[in-house]
């Protein structure tokens, strides 16, 4: 075939697009996992959390989270008397090495683990200029780090402060609900190591899921409900002082 200028003008862009596909490779197969059969969430049972920091450490190890940034973290609350609008909160290194003993043990003291809420109507995916962050059909909010520009708009838009920019990749990052694990029938790293069952993965589309049952019969809340984000991390026994 003769290489004319016209043919080249058509071939080259087509080849460039095809090359991009070759470079992207094939995603890892999970043949038994049907996206539409799941709708993921999580239950955090506050009265059970002992603030051991195991979840923060496990997440960091499982997902290569850089030091100083947190895909999940634990906050310790101290509420004096009835003053629920003025709690004292701390999170030393995200709770990664646990918490030091606090001297003042009057009032209410408890731990609150936090993570991405995998919002059904997430404000962070709404603002991404290129759609690098998105909600999967099974309800997990993910970031495609090969597409992210690092503009930080999503970090600003998240009401919960769960996003950060990974200094090694210069892209946005956050809890992925261990998507690489849950699509293979495993649970998330944080739920795996939690010794008291304070963190448990929930499949809200599975009627047989015990957590799904729990949510129907207990008093649970989400964080910042007035933001109407459709958050899917549910907190049992959460005090009104939790921010």
């Amino acid at each position: 075939m003769e290489i004319t200028r016209r043919r080249l003008l058509v071939l080259l862009p087509a080849a460039a697009v095809a090359w991009k596909f070759v470079l992207a490779g094939t995603p890892e197969a999970s043949p038994n996992y049907k996206l539409t059969e799941h709708w993921w969430g999580m239950l955090i049972d506050i009265p059970k959390c002992i603030g051991c920091g195991g979840c923060v450490r496990a997440c960091a190890e499982e997902n290569d989270v850089p030091e100083g940034y947190y895909r999940t973290w634990i906050e310790r609350y101290h509420v004096t008397d009835w003053k629920i609008e003025k709690p004292e909160v701390e999170s030393p290194n995200g709770g990664k090495q646990g918490f030091p003993l606090n001297q003042d043990s009057g009032g209410k003291n408890f731990f609150v683990p936090k993570l991405c809420n995998h919002c059904a109507e997430s404000p962070c995916t709404q603002v991404c200029p290129v759609g690098a962050t998105f909600v999967t059909p099974d309800g997990v909010v993910l970031v495609d780090k090969s597409y992210c520009l690092g503009c930080r708009y999503c970090v600003q838009a998240c009401p919960y402060g769960c996003r950060f920019i990974n200094p090694k990749t210069n892209t946005a990052e956050k809890c992925s609900l261990c998507y690489h694990r849950i699509t293979k029938g495993l649970t998330t790293a944080c739920c795996e190591v939690c010794p008291t069952g304070a963190r448990q993965l929930a499949d809200l589309k599975n009627p047989k899921d015990p957590i799904h049952e729990f949510l129907k019969t207990h008093t649970v809340q989400v964080l910042k409900p007035h933001m109407a984000t459709g958050a899917k991390v549910f907190y049992n026994g959460m005090d009104g002082s939790v921010r």
């Binding site: 404000p123 290129v130 520009l149």
Partner: protein
């Protein structure tokens, strides 16, 4: 770099996301929008007095608009992927859609208007100059060489039409930046329907003040007489628009104080401590109240020409500084407090890094360099020596 934190912040919130470069960006696009509105006063609203600044305002807008994307590119984690915003935009994202507004404004409004305004001069210069200059002007003619009465009248009509479209486009350009901040429900310092309006009016104020200052400085440098009637008119518009801008900002403030919702206590503390100098002293007192009072005085009292010129210069400088402070207070202020409303962080600005102070200074000087080139290429002066009286400029007054 250890960042000092007061109270409690979510662990990922401690480090600021948007730096001084993101402060620069709305400041620069604000100058563009404001300069264009000043130009449109003459072209569309027939305010004869400000004609001497018409071309200068257009070139100023262009110089700043060309620099505007640079702070954004330098800020991105992956600037090499930024073209994806145009190729695969996410339609629900204000930032993505803004890219098209910028492109529209640059290509369809500003460049086209400048070309139409200068076409006669460009064609004449392409015929009278020699060497490299001749080549540049020939390229700029875009192949056109028709200077008949009819073609000049078409230039005039088209230019008018584009300016008419350009006014809402300029509002859209900068109002959109306001919307980018104002639509973030997660941040109570930003989230407000007033945000696009406040941005537009403060943009007009900064743009008009900037062109006024540039006109005064450039006329002085050229050793010419400043048209005092022109300055008076510009200052008058500046005054009125400033009063509206100030009222809007005070309305926002008063309502916040009165309603005192959950975020208020935290924001109030932030303004009283971390933002005291930049917001209360620089933005409000020095940058808004003082210029308004000064300009108000020139409207009420009968002052001599030299006195008025000095007041205009002072008011203009304070205005531009004040509007920069406003951008700082919005962008940086919005990141200094925790979304838990329980703590505050600090902005540690580096100096010689990609997003540091030095970069910001260079980016602010760059538009003046570009403007200098544009002014040499396309002289905006109404008393430009070598060219015969421009039929197009005459046509402005008659049609």
């Amino acid at each position: 770099m250890q960042i000092p934190v007061e109270g409690f912040m979510y662990p990922n919130e401690v480090e600021l996301q948007w730096s001084i470069l993101i402060v620069l960006y709305p400041f620069i696009t604000g100058l563009v929008a404001g300069a264009f509105i000043l130009a449109s006063l003459e072209r569309v609203f027939r305010v004869e007095a400000v004609k001497p600044t018409y071309r200068l305002a257009l070139l100023t807008a262009l110089a700043f608009l060309l620099v505007a994307p640079l702070p954004l590119q330098l800020h991105l984690g992956h600037p090499e992927r930024s073209l994806e915003m145009y190729l695969t935009p996410h339609r629900s994202s204000a930032m993505a859609m803004f890219g098209f507004v910028y492109l529209w404004y640059l290509m369809a409004v500003l460049l086209l208007e400048i070309w139409l305004e200068y076409r006669r001069d460009i064609v004449l210069k392409s015929q009278t100059t020699t060497g490299a200059a001749r080549l540049i002007y020939r390229v700029l003619t875009l192949g056109s060489s028709n200077l008949s009465e009819r073609s000049l009248r078409i230039d005039e009509r088209l230019g008018y039409f584009i300016t008419v479209i350009g006014i809402p486009s300029a509002f859209l350009l900068h109002g959109y930046v306001g919307f980018i901040f104002g639509s973030i429900k997660a941040n109570p310092w930003w989230s407000s329907p007033l945000m696009p309006i406040v941005f537009i009016f403060s943009a007009m104020v900064s743009g008009i003040a900037a062109v006024m200052l540039l006109y005064m400085i450039s006329t002085r440098l050229r050793g010419r007489e400043i048209d005092i009637r022109c300055l008076d008119k510009i200052a008058q518009y500046l005054f009125y628009i400033f009063v509206i801008d100030f009222s809007l900002e005070m309305l926002d403030l008063l309502q916040r104080i009165y309603e005192a919702d959950e975020s208020f206590r935290s924001l109030d503390f932030m303004v009283h401590t971390r933002l005291w100098t930049s917001q209360v002293i620089v933005q409000i007192l020095l940058g808004t109240v003082t210029p308004i009072v000064l300009l108000g005085l020139t409207q009420i009292l009968k002052l001599s020409d030299p006195a008025r010129k000095r007041i205009y210069a002072l008011a203009g400088c304070l205005t531009v500084i004040g509007i920069f402070a406003m951008r700082w207070n919005v962008v940086i202020g919005g990141q200094l407090f925790s979304k838990s409303f329980l703590g505050y962080t600090t902005y540690k600005m580096a100096f010689a890094t990609r997003e540091g102070l030095l970069t910001a200074i260079v980016l602010m000087i760059l538009p003046f360099g570009i403007l200098w080139v544009l002014v040499k290429l396309l002289p905006p002066w109404p008393d430009a020596g070598s060219l015969p009286a421009s039929g197009a400029t005459l046509a402005h007054g008659t049609s």
